[in-house]
Symmetry: C2
Subunit: 303 residues, 2 copies
């Protein structure tokens, strides 16, 4: 069987310009399709943009959000998926039936929206805008393999990525917006390292679509990548500030072989009976959030 081509599309997106953003996404999907991609991953919140007005971020986000049903972004993706015979995973700004805002992502194919996921681990000012989701990453069966879906900071929680692997994901598709910061020379950004480790820990493909250029002065890591089930990079990170479509050949059945030695299997070797405390509530005082200590990651802020 020929390998499956997976594409990730770092886009240059402008907050508040959903039509232009959808146009940029369509161009990237078309380019990915021309390269033979069966799955295209787009960035987080790639219709609304990300850096909402600091004066009232929730108000600006609300003006850009739409319900999943009849959503213009998802409708566009369905048309693109049908036209090109591929699957799209990307982020959109969702207005819930409950009136709340969600930092959501969807997997869409020619048949329509296969899954909607609401980001469960919110980053920084997103907590002022969005309600966190409370459902596990969906796993969508496609004709080339099973696509798990999560968004940005979710990917930094090994509990979350492991759940997707246990649920059978062959590929974890992760729309992200990684705000730029600096890292030591000779190193890859920690988000990239974590994505690689995620792939290797559970022998899954990980496909990350980050942003490029800047938005209201905020730069991005531009860390779009495709990692193999061994944890090595098949494409990316670009670490360059221009739109691009990265494509890699992915031998999906490799993600169904969790063996790493004659006697070892990455999932069967787990000791779930010893992991119960992972689901216990954090002991009071263990966290440092209330400690008033300066954050360590130097996140770039908007103007």
């Amino acid at each position: 069987m020929d390998p499956t081509k997976i594409a990730v599309a770092p886009l240059a997106i402008a907050v508040g310009q959903p039509d232009a953003n959808r146009k940029a996404a369509a161009e990237a999907v078309t380019e990915a399709a021309a390269a033979g991609a069966r799955l295209v991953v787009l960035p987080e919140l790639c219709d609304s943009g990300y850096v909402f007005d600091p004066a009232d971020p929730a108000a600006e986000a609300r003006g850009l959000a739409a319900p999943a049903a009849g959503n213009p972004t998802l409708t566009q993706w369905r048309a693109l998926a049908a036209e090109h015979g591929l699957v799209i995973a990307g982020g959109f700004c969702e207005l819930g039936d409950d009136g709340r805002l969600y930092n959501s992502a969807a997997v869409v194919d020619a048949s329509g929206t296969r899954a909607v996921y609401r980001k469960a681990h919110l980053w920084d000012n997103e907590k002022l805008v969005f309600t966190p989701g409370d459902a596990a990453p969906p796993i969508v069966d496609t004709d080339f393999g099973r696509v798990g879906l999560m968004v940005c900071y979710d990917l930094e929680f090994p509990e979350w990525t492991r759940l997707a692997a246990l649920d059978g994901a062959d590929v974890i598709a992760a729309p992200v917006n990684w705000p730029g910061y600096s890292w030591p020379a000779g190193e890859r950004p920690a988000e990239v390292v974590k994505a690689q480790a995620t792939a290797a820990a559970s022998a899954v493909f990980v496909a990350v679509a980050d942003r490029c250029r800047t938005e209201r002065g905020v730069p991005w890591v531009s860390g779009s990548l495709i990692a193999s089930p061994d944890g090595y990079l098949l494409a990316g990170p670009v670490l360059a500030d221009h739109p691009a479509v990265l494509v890699a050949d992915c031998d999906i059945p490799r993600a169904r072989n969790k063996r790493v030695s004659e006697h070892n299997d990455l999932l069967a070797d787990r000791r779930p009976e010893l992991y119960a405390r992972l689901s216990a509530t954090l002991t009071a005082g263990r966290s440092s959030l209330s400690g008033g200590v300066k954050p360590r990651r130097s996140v770039q802020k908007g103007p």
Copy 2:
């Protein structure tokens, strides 16, 4: 407060020569002490050696194992710790009171053995020799910080490293023997990537002591390293085939600051109520161990 110097000591060890191996460890500890180290990490099974006779590995291991009480290796470490005013974390071949063999590690200081840990996730032929431990990684309070302890393949289970962080480890000390294999040019070995991601995911220091040279024809990754709470390398990986003592300045209080943005804390942001399935028994058929598929990691075998 001055940073704490942490050392990791990749050793050239010969299976079946515990006296020579203890001498090599003593030399490394002395060198680390001269460099000002407060904590020295030694490799896995660094008294017995690792590559037991393939004809009857359990028999050879049994001949080299000793109980933790009165153990000659731990006795030597206590003397070294007292002489140099430091803490030693290393692996030894333990004969349990129950007559079983354990791939164990200990944290030892001038007061004696502070903790013994039995490897919970066994690698390859170790399953023919050792009984897996069933206790969580110990966390040992020292005058410079809290040292968590686990062994080699344990470090590849994000569930396990997270537990150590939740239990308050500032430093995860990991004696390892990483059997050599090849990885793509431009990449670091996946074990190194996982160690870095472990550090970054929970904002802890990770100190790994691997082996060097060969043992019965088995080479090693030689991936000894010290990673910062940001996931970047403060020392290593050596990736060179000679004994060495790596030392890094570690600002231990950094590991007590889990904040990564104004509104984010790596531990407080967890959603433990959504992680319960991590401790559920694996669904039958999900694992591939019985599938007869060729292992993906090409492990070097002895002659």
